[in-house]
Symmetry: D2
């Protein structure tokens, strides 16, 4: 039904997170109507992303080395490089957007580690989906007083947390999890029993 | 548009919690189609509720005195009367269904107090909406080691909690709140900053 | 967990349309807090409904005979009795609230028939769920120029419409269905193919 | 908070239809993790779209001229060029995805015209948002027996339809609108009065 080049791009956009074929089609029609200079701006920004963004060798957060005083050979992101961050606190998150969510609270001043996903089981296949070896090396070499496993309190997040906990226990560091409880705006009446139990246990 | 007796009942059902005029109309049409014996069963159950249910003089939870070994003069509900409950723990909730939600967790063994609502401000008008005098008397006369203010973490619930805290502070008892944090199944990425801050502070 | 008389009423309210056990519990707690005169008002309104409401012998819509000039022996509802209604137009609906929805449009001036439900198949069991014999008698004896089958365009509504059509075809009356198409506020892009096909065919 | 090149791309993706800053951020992190060959595939597909896609000079639908027997100078899309389409039927839609929705029904065999938007008022500013002059020229020069104004039955769509109707009336062609009514799966009880009125008027 669509011209080949439109269909190709619909297929590629359909792989973007949260995007289905219908939304992907709207993206492509949006692009076909874009003035040439706007289209080129998008193309150039994509190329720029590819060229300028590196992944931090310590926490795996994407960053732009050229923004750090022109040191293109920089291998650490601004957070890992920041001397005012607390290097004894270490927070493990599933993905980049979780790191950002925590940074936005302005309540955390330690370091991060981006796992790159979750596991849903303990098969070899699963374990390869996350940066477990890199994580173990980081915890072994770090000088952490507390490691916060900040995976989501979902089934996959919990499975991943249990696996991580088992793997880093040998390094003898204090391991914590994010507090569970009622979210802001929540209601006791509609809370599940696990959440309400956590809220009771975590009272203060 | 409706016969008078139908309209009257629609008006009365519309005052039930969560019910609007459209649902109220469906209730009434449901009733008009009910066989006589089913209708009478409903009428009798309503009368029965009226006659058998008292409100506990201590926690204000509705209960049936006749269920307590035939002592119709009983003024305490089964929870308040239960000697195996911890009488040093006292939990203040907004309404009956919140008490039930907490009971279902099987994690709380203390006593309760049903406020009967929330306040949205500190005007005299507002304060009369909740059982604040009864609460103060209960805390003054009780022998509590901890009072848990378990109002919802909503705006009204928080306002109410602050007001209660101020009012019972003079009785020199430890006051706690339910733990806030990520609910089971929640995701960091979509959590508001307040919830995520609470989750960070409440880590363990 | 609940006193017997509360549990009994929760069970009865749970049978009301759209009501589950949690909402039913809220209804009962609402009732336990109602002042005596309000509670009695509800009880009396229920009794009044039972005594004053009859079901129209022609269209099966509930009505109050005493509202028709004191003629308690009246067997027709105000619509069936209204001489200014068009007695050659006949509209078959699933339930009372559908009749009301049509009346509210003020675009229909004919008579009605309330089926009392839908069928999902053609088993004997299914057919007994709706007033098919009463309908056939009504169409046979009526003097209708058009019979509108106004069941919902859902799977059950369509099955019911096909069955009705087959049953009343022998009476040689013009049979119509409500127009299908895009609803007000709808969007082509999100319409299913059936709706959009109907909208194309029904263009004018 | 983000590196400059990431922020830039978040800003550009945020202008895509239905995309907000949070989703845009997920898109960018998705891209930073894409293997080089997949990233290049996206870049090349975008360039390809730019080079291969023209907008049809007749209906304004995007198409690929090279797909029509290698005639790169082709100015008509496959639909406009298709001799088996009914050239006396002309359907005006708001946007490309509406054309596709209609094509999917396989119930329409005429030509199209893509307006490129809707107007919300009759100010000069508004009128410039849609291809009204191109449309008038097309209707003047076409040999149409019926023009279907297939804008959405939303407030903007209706305003646009009224404006178009006024502008093409002088060309003395039969003008129709899509049929309104209950959508497939809809329920009378929850339909708005306008939709239900349309369903009654459009019965057949």
């Amino acid at each position: 039904m669509f011209p080949r080049s439109i269909q190709k791009l619909i297929d590629l956009f359909s792989k973007f997170p949260t995007v289905g074929p219908r939304t992907a089609a709207r993206f492509v029609f949006y692009l076909t109507k874009l003035p040439k200079e706007k289209f080129d701006e998008l193309l150039n920004s994509l190329k720029d992303l590819r060229q300028s963004i590196k992944v931090c060798s310590s926490c795996f957060n994407p960053f732009d080395p050229s923004e750090s005083l022109g040191k293109a050979e920089e291998i650490l992101c601004p957070i890992c490089r920041n001397n005012s961050r607390d290097k004894t606190l270490f927070c493990i998150v599933e993905k980049e957007t979780d790191l950002i969510a925590i940074e936005k609270t302005k309540k955390y001043k330690g370091l991060y580690f981006i796992l790159g996903g979750t596991i849903s089981g303990l098969k070899k296949n699963d374990k390869e989906k996350i940066r477990i070896e890199e994580l173990k090396q980081r915890v072994r070499n770090g000088n952490f007083q507390e490691v916060i496993i900040a995976t989501n309190p979902t089934v996959e997040g919990e499975t991943t947390a249990l696996y991580i906990e088992r793997e880093i226990k040998p390094f003898n560091v204090k391991i914590t999890r994010l507090g569970q409880g009622l979210p802001a705006g929540g209601e006791l009446e509609y809370a599940d029993e696990e959440t309400l139990s956590s809220a009771l246990e975590g009272r203060k």
